[in-house]
Symmetry: C2
């Protein structure tokens, strides 16, 4: 992929640091102007890197978004490992959800909305968004591990909290003064109920209404 470029950067401002700099700059640029309207020329200029050199790092806006998503996943993995050294699996789960949801900046949330909308128009972005849906695998595994009752349904529990997590991100983007604390606490309470197999199940009539 985008490995060392060998253009004489020293250790501090080497290709990896420059790659990080591009990612940070691109994220800010996408947030300011929207993903669709931002061009590679804009991104090279904002990063203060010549266009040819810029292309040695990333060949497209989509590749940058993919790298941003990969960086987020890597940071999340580090968080899981760090928390796991001292906390129980249940506390790791709460810690990860709390940090990733309450810690998200308004800017990051806006970019997330942009990419969700863009997924309808752009197959490469749809693929990135689909990979972020892989949280399903991790969370499903945690729910299976932590289940307190045979009635706990990990998949159904994920489907229950998944739109709530997305709604928190929307509110973070849309509302100026948003405190996600109560909703995150509610999410955590839902997980507790789900692990005990006590999640309120969808009444059949209401489901029928949707068909």
């Amino acid at each position: 992929m985008n490995t060392a470029v060998g253009n004489g950067f020293d250790a501090k401002s080497g290709p990896l640091a420059r790659r990080e700099h591009i990612l940070d700059t691109a994220q800010a640029c996408f947030v300011r102007n929207g993903f669709r309207r931002t061009t590679m020329i804009d991104l090279a200029r904002e990063s203060a890197i010549g266009r040819c050199n810029f292309h040695r790092y990333f060949g497209s806006k989509e590749a940058i978004v993919e790298a941003l998503a990969r960086r987020d996943r890597a940071r999340c993995a580090v968080l899981v490992a760090e928390l796991g050294r001292t906390a129980s699996p249940r506390a790791v789960l709460t810690g990860v959800l709390t940090r990733t949801l309450s810690g998200i900046t308004r800017e990051t949330a806006v970019l997330r909305l942009d990419l969700w909308a863009e997924a309808k128009r752009n197959a490469a972005i749809a693929a990135v968004v689909e990979r972020t849906e892989e949280a399903r695998a991790w969370l499903g595994g945690m729910f299976s591990l932590l289940a307190l009752s045979p009635r706990c349904q990990p998949e159904a529990l994920f489907d229950t909290i998944n739109p709530l997590m997305k709604g928190i991100i929307v509110n973070r983007a849309v509302l100026l003064e948003y405190d996600s604390g109560a909703t995150i606490a509610f999410l955590d309470a839902l997980i507790d109920a789900g692990l005990r197999g006590e999640l309120p199940h969808a009444p059949f009539t209401a489901v029928q209404l949707n068909r």
Copy 2:
């Protein structure tokens, strides 16, 4: 405002019909290309209306978005009135939530995401988004009317279901095969619990984690 233009349309293709046509075309155009990238020139061309004439209907993209939102609110008011003729207030509530959430097309959901993201960048769009937050007033009023216990907290109930409703819209936009039925049924069950004053309350420690 955009009142009759008096340019000799007959009743069927009169200014009102043409205005509706512009709104439908604009919505499709925003969905295809994104709000930010769509220009007034695109919209006039897509509507097959001369640019000068087009400007007599709408002076800006923002005015079109505002009109689309107003049309949605008007349709919702009609739905409330229709349901109210035969259904109880509680059934009206379920009916409105079910129809507006499960009936939303993927295209409309994508546009909603676009506008939520755009609100950060555009004060006029932020004002439109803020007005859609007025659902709070209607829903809060319904919860007060339908409360089954003095422990029911209409505001807190709204804050609980609000991110869930937004998450349903995100999933409609992002997931190709999304059936919102189970989540809408869960939402309805939460409302029941909230009206009985039995909504799980946020544990204090989890709220603290967010600060």
